[in-house]
Each structure stands twice: as structure tokens, then as C-alpha cells.
């Protein structure tokens, strides 16, 4: 059996998490190569539809990263994220998809290390969960 290499998608807001990811890079913080970042302006623009789409097409895990509550470049944008993503996870859970495949976290522009930490933890978690069963469906 070949080793399971998860495919992970991360949505990062331009102002905090994407910058945090950049900082991680600048500091050469090493992390597993499974995460692919899509830059959005605010975590609040991440439609749950994207998460559902990715999961149902076989992506193994989805990260949604935004500014800390109170730090949102758009005042209260991430407040909506803070509510939508938990609902997204619940719905996945209800139909039998392990909701640990989706994670919401806050990473500021200064938190390169936290970004690294989140990636390392998430990739490890997804590896323990194994491949997304939806992969099979879509083959």
C-alpha cells in the first residue's frame, strides 16, 4: 500500500493568515507539503459551498484561516466565519463525514509559528483520519 498523502485546501484571508503564512515562509518554518492555499480577502468570503464542494470531490481536509476575532480587517467579517464554519462542520457530521476534516482557526499576520503549528497538526490529524471516503465515489 502506498503512503497516504492527504490533499488539503486552505483558505487564508489576505490580511492576517496569508500574511502569517508568508511570515512562516520568510522564517523558513518547515511543514508538510500537503496544504494548498487559496487567498481570499476575508475569511468571511469563504462560502461553505467551497468547503462542501472540496470535501465531496475528495479533498481530504479543508482549513479556513482568518484574523483573530476583533482583528478583522473588515471589522466583523470573521464573526460570520466564526458561525458559518461550525455549521458547515455540523452538517458534515450529520451525514457521516468526520468534521475534523474541516478546521477553522485564527492566525494573525505575526503568527508565522502558529501557522506552521496549525499545518503540522492538521496534516497529522488528516493522516490519522485516512483518505476522504468521497475520493472513492469520484474515481
Amino acid at each position: 500500500m502506498t503512503e497516504f498523502k492527504p490533499t488539503i485546501l486552505a483558505f487564508c484571508c489576505n490580511w492576517c493568515s496569508y500574511a502569517g503564512a508568508d511570515l512562516a515562509g520568510v522564517n523558513r518554518l518547515q511543514m508538510p507539503p500537503n496544504v494548498h492555499v487559496i487567498r481570499v480577502m476575508c475569511s468571511a468570503s469563504v462560502k461553505p459551498e467551497y468547503v462542501f464542494k472540496a470535501i465531496s470531490q475528495g479533498v481530504d481536509g479543508v482549513l479556513v484561516l482568518g484574523c483573530h476575532i476583533g482583528d478583522c480587517h473588515y471589522l466583523t467579517g470573521n464573526h460570520r466565519t466564526a458561525k458559518r464554519i461550525p455549521v458547515t462542520k455540523k452538517i458534515l457530521h450529520d451525514v457521516g463525514i468526520d468534521d475534523r476534516r474541516v478546521r477553522l482557526d485564527w492566525v494573525s499576520a505575526a503568527e508565522g509559528e502558529k501557522f506552521q503549528q496549525v499545518i503540522i497538526e492538521f496534516v497529522a490529524e488528516i493522516k490519522t483520519l485516512g483518505p476522504n471516503p468521497q475520493r472513492e465515489v469520484n474515481m
Binding site: 498523502k5 490533499t7 485546501l9 489576505n14 496569508y18 500574511a19 503564512a21 508568508d22 512562516a24 515562509g25 520568510v26 523558513r28 518554518l29 518547515q30 511543514m31 507539503p33 500537503n34 494548498h36 492555499v37 487559496i38 487567498r39 481570499v40 480577502m41 476575508c42 468571511a44 468570503s45 469563504v46 462560502k47 461553505p48 459551498e49 467551497y50 464542494k53 472540496a54 470531490q57 475528495g58 479533498v59 482583528d71 480587517h73 473588515y74 471589522l75 466583523t76 467579517g77 460570520r80 458559518r84 506552521q116 475520493r135 469520484n138 474515481m139
Partner: protein
């Protein structure tokens, strides 16, 4: 429509090439749909690199460009400009980050890094194919500013604006200018005379024909957005509508009235710092004075430190101590917050001058007992571990500064946020100080947070400088990442209206068809509304669901095909 994408992979010297096999990524890019050309550069951002991209655009008749290099946060403008120079709309450019997000963080896994870079490029290409040319809209700017608040911050801001030749309306609630400084003798630690300072600034202001001072007036309505606000000023002669390009909020602060605390309001000997200032201004020199600090602050419900009160206490204690050799000045404090070398010097000087400092704790606060003419302050001194009784002619309470009563109204008028205490919140403390997140509205002085006069002056100047930028430029460019509504699709359910943090969306009736409409100048491009819309009637330029969906599809395709 023809789609011909050019993909340029950057070596970034060794920065990328040491981990990512650039040539392999180039070969991969050539197999992707719509890719008409794929190449690589040693340094894409160099003159040579940019030149080769521009040449390739012409030679290969490219209509979209994808550069896989570093981070868009620093280099996107550069490549966008290059595209523009080569005749491609700059919004037909897509940046793929394979340095910060790939080579640097997977430095020891070249194979994996290369595979990831391929996927990132595939995602970028998928998005690029769906990019649409955008026009940045520009809006004119009315060369007028409105400053709300005639305290020292507002005065300085207004003065700074008129000095730059900008027509400025200053709106003051009372009939006097200078705000709290009018009630204050000197401002420390340097001991400048407050009124002189105010007079200087007011003179400068009044000397300019560009100044319009509205006394006994308030702002009753604000419409519009950066560059074209319409501010209604309610003055003695009724309302005036002032068109303005920018607004500065300098509504200042007020002193907390500690009614009921330490006999305040009960014993005439118990007064606040500001009342002491008035007495000092009238030449009174009380001898036995007890100062109590942190009255009503740093405690549940008002947890913050008001920052200015300790220094004011020190300044006044020192002044009284120096005024008569037999004075007995005592300061009962929880901590002395006097940071900075000047303030520290003041503290030392005060202490050396014979002022006695006693420390109390929140759990055992001092008590004020009156016997008619005099009052006694009974305090448990934590340092001495004993209860001390201090007799006093005057007890001065250092109370925190509060936002003005009408800060909520002001906040709503301007659609700017306040914190839980009612002070205004700027857009970002570090990235955008003195600016509100709402473009064209600025903040200075103690309305933002209690600050001393010196800081008020800095902030007033800073806010004026920021406010003058759009006015001087005469236009504001709106980056084409705003939200737009397809009225055909829109069900007018109002989700976006509720979700928008900027109140930039409204439901309008157009020929009987109700649909949401985005005010572009008010939209900041966060996309919150996009996620709130269930049928994709709202989309964000440059981040459409089609584009992001295509990125996901590309990742899935590249990953699943790879795993097969």
C-alpha cells in the same frame, strides 16, 4: 473568447529553484488547458524578468498571465504594472506563491515541493482562465474637510488642514474652543501653559479664510462616502449641509463623575482633578491635599487605565508641594503609571519634593470621613502594613476619562465601530493608525483612547495628514475587488444587506424588480456578502465562485490524477 495564458515560473535565484524543479513545473504547465506559453525566469521581478514577460505577452499573443514566484502581498503590483505595460488589463494577472508557501517551507523535500508547485500552478491557471478585465473606478474628492470636535486634537487637525490650503469646517458643541485644555493650567510634564497653546492654535486657525468654525453646533447627519460626504451641521442658525471629502473625528473625552465615591458630591472638600485645575487656575493654593488615583477605573466594569491621570496627579501634587513649604501633599495610589523619561523624572521630582505616596489595594480602598470643615482619609497603606489617617483640606480624586455621551450617536452617524467602553476603534492599530476602516473618516485624540495633550497634537496632525491625501490627490481609486450583484439572479432576500459590515448594500427597486445593489465606493471588498448569498447573485470581482471553484477543481484533478 480566446484564452491564451502565459505561465512564468520564477527561480528566484536559489530561493525557489533549490527546492522546486522549475523546469519540470514549466513542462507541466504546458500541459494545462488554455496555457499558450510557459517559461521561467531567474528573477521574474528583475528588469530582465519583467522585460521577458512583456515580450512574451506580445510574441505569444497572451491575454492572461500567471506568475509563480513569491507573495502577491509584496510583488503583485509590479507584475500587474508589467501586464498593463504590455497591453493586458492588470486584473488578468494571477499570482501563484511557490516561495513563501512552497520552496521555503518544504526546503528538504524537493520532490514533494515540485509536486505541490505544480498543483498550485494548475490552480492559478484555472483561476486565471476565468479572470475578467476590470476597470478601477475613480471617484472625485470634494476638497473640503470636516473636523468634529474643537478640543486640542480637532484644533490642531483643522489648523494643519487649513495650513495645507484645505477648506475646513470645525464643529464644536460648546461656544469655546480648546476643550478640556480650557480648564487646565499647565500641561505636563514640561509644564506648558494650556491656554497659551490653545490660543496659538486658534489664532492660526482664525487667521485663515479657509476656516469655518461652527460653535454651539453638532453634526446631525452624514451621508455618502470617501470623497463625497454630505455632513449636516446643526448650528445656531439651523442646519447647514456641508459637502466634504474627508471627516476627522476629534470628539474627545470627558471626566468620569465619581458620585458617591469617597464622599464626592457629599463633601465639598472632595473634588476631581479637573475641579482642582480650575481652583489652581484661580490662584488657590490648598496645603493639605490628599490625591486618590484610579477612582472608578481599573476595576470591574471599567477595567482600563485612563493613562493620563497619574501624570496629572504628579504634576498637580508637585505644583502644590512647591507652592508652599508647609504643604502636606499625599498621593494614595494603586500604581503610578508614568512611563517615559520625562514622566519618570516628574515622579522622582514629586517624590523628592516631599509628597508622600501611599499604596492601597482594590480590596481595601481608603475611606473619606468628614467632620465639617475638614475631611480625614483613612487608608490602609500596603507598604507599611498599617492603617493611616490623613487629614485634608481637599481630597482630589483622579478619575478616568470617558468617551463623550454622544459617542454612540457619532459612531452610528459615521458607521464606525466603538469598543465596549465606547471609545472609537481605528482600522488597525499598527497598519492604519488614526484611520477608521471606513475610508475617508479619521480619528484623533481622546475619542480614540485617553491621551495627553501632546499625543492629541500628534494624532491631530497625523489625522490631518491622512485626510489630506485623498483631497490633495483629488480622486480615490477603488480597487476592482468590490462586490457586484447580478440583478437577474438576485432574490432580494437581504442576506447580503444584513451581512455587510459596511452597510454598503441596499435592496433597490428597479422597474419593479427588487434586487440588491452595492455601493462601490462604500464596498471594501471583503466578500462577506458573497458568502451570505445563496444563489451566487453577489460575487466579488477577482474572487468569483467560478474562479475559486475552478481552483478547487484543478486541485482535485491534479491530486486525484496524481494518486491514480
Amino acid at each position: 473568447m480566446m484564452v491564451r495564458i502565459g505561465v512564468f515560473i520564477c527561480h528566484c535565484g536559489h530561493n525557489i529553484a533549490s527546492a522546486v524543479d522549475v523546469e519540470e513545473v514549466v513542462e507541466y504547465a504546458k500541459t494545462l488547458p488554455w496555457v499558450a506559453h510557459a517559461g521561467h525566469n531567474l528573477y521574474s521581478c528583475s528588469e530582465e524578468g519583467l522585460g521577458s514577460i512583456k515580450r512574451s505577452i506580445t510574441e505569444n499573443k497572451l491575454d492572461r498571465v500567471v506568475v509563480a514566484a513569491c507573495t502577491p502581498r509584496t510583488h503583485e503590483p509590479l507584475f500587474r504594472r508589467a501586464c498593463e505595460q504590455a497591453g493586458i488589463n492588470k486584473y488578468l494577472f494571477e499570482f501563484v506563491n511557490i516561495r513563501e508557501h512552497c520552496s521555503w517551507i518544504h526546503a528538504k523535500e524537493p520532490k514533494e515541493a515540485t509536486e505541490k508547485a505544480k498543483k498550485l500552478v494548475a490552480m492559478g491557471v484555472a483561476k486565471a482562465a476565468l479572470l475578467k478585465p476590470q476597470t478601477e473606478s475613480e471617484a472625485g474628492v470634494i476638497p473640503t474637510a470636516v473636523v468634529i470636535g474643537g478640543g486640542i486634537s480637532g484644533l490642531v487637525a483643522a489648523a494643519s488642514l487649513v495650513e495645507q490650503g484645505i477648506e475646513t469646517h470645525l464643529v464644536e458643541q460648546t461656544d469655546r474652543l480648546g476643550g478640556l485644555l480650557c480648564d487646565i493650567t499647565t500641561i505636563g510634564p514640561e509644564g506648558r501653559h494650556a491656554r497659551t497653546l490653545v490660543k496659538d492654535v486658534v489664532q492660526k486657525l482664525e487667521a485663515s479664510p479657509k476656516t469655518h468654525i461652527h460653535r454651539k453646533a453638532r453634526v446631525s447627519d452624514v451621508k455618502g462616502f470617501i470623497g463625497s460626504f454630505e455632513v449636516t451641521i446643526e448650528g445656531c442658525d439651523g442646519p447647514t449641509k456641508v459637502p466634504a471629502g474627508a471627516i476627522i473625528v476629534a470628539t474627545g473625552t470627558r471626566e468620569f463623575a465619581p458620585t458617591g465615591e469617597y464622599g464626592f458630591g457629599e463633601h465639598p472638600q472632595v473634588i476631581t482633578q479637573l475641579e482642582l485645575e480650575r481652583k489652581l487656575a484661580m490662584g488657590e493654593k490648598p496645603k493639605r491635599v490628599v490625591f486618590i488615583t484610579c477612582v472608578g477605573s481599573r476595576q470591574p466594569g471599567r477595567e482600563y487605565c485612563s493613562r493620563v491621570c497619574c501624570n496629572v496627579t504628579l504634576k498637580n501634587a508637585l505644583a502644590l508641594s512647591k507652592a508652599s513649604p508647609d504643604s502636606r501633599i499625599r498621593v494614595i495610589h494603586r500604581d503610578i503609571m508614568s512611563s517615559g523619561s520625562a514622566a519618570e523624572k516628574l515622579y522622582k521630582e514629586t517624590s523628592d519634593s516631599g509628597v508622600r505616596f501611599l499604596r492601597y489595594g482594590l480590596e481595601r480602598p481608603p475611606e473619606v470621613v468628614s467632620d465639617g470643615d475638614r475631611v480625614n482619609v483613612i487608608v490602609y497603606d500596603e507598604t507599611l502594613d498599617e492603617v493611616v489617617s490623613l487629614d485634608a483640606d481637599l481630597v482630589v480624586l483622579a478619575v478616568p476619562m470617558l468617551p463623550p455621551d454622544d459617542s454612540e450617536v457619532t459612531g452610528k452617524l459615521l458607521k464606525v465601530p466603538r469598543d465596549k467602553f465606547g471609545f472609537f476603534l481605528e482600522a488597525h492599530v499598527k497598519l492604519r493608525p488614526v484611520e477608521f476602516a471606513t475610508d475617508g473618516v479619521f480619528i484623533c485624540g481622546s475619542a480614540r483612547w485617553p491621551v495627553n495633550a501632546r499625543e492629541c497634537i500628534w494624532q491631530g496632525m497625523a489625522a490631518a495628514a491622512k485626510a489630506s491625501i485623498p483631497i490633495k490627490e483629488g480622486k480615490v481609486v477603488i480597487q476592482a475587488i468590490t462586490a457586484e450583484v447580478d440583478p437577474e439572479k438576485c432574490a432580494a432576500c437581504g442576506n447580503c444587506v444584513l451581512a455587510c459590515p459596511y452597510e454598503a448594500i441596499e435592496i433597490v427597486d428597479q422597474d419593479g424588480n427588487r434586487a440588491a445593489k452595492v455601493n462601490e465606493a462604500q464596498c471594501k471588498g471583503c466578500g462577506t456578502c458573497v458568502a451570505a448569498c445563496h444563489n451566487d447573485a453577489v460575487s466579488q470581482k477577482g474572487f468569483t465562485s467560478g474562479q475559486l471553484g475552478a481552483m478547487i477543481d484543478a486541485l482535485v484533478k491534479a491530486s486525484l490524477e496524481g494518486s491514480r
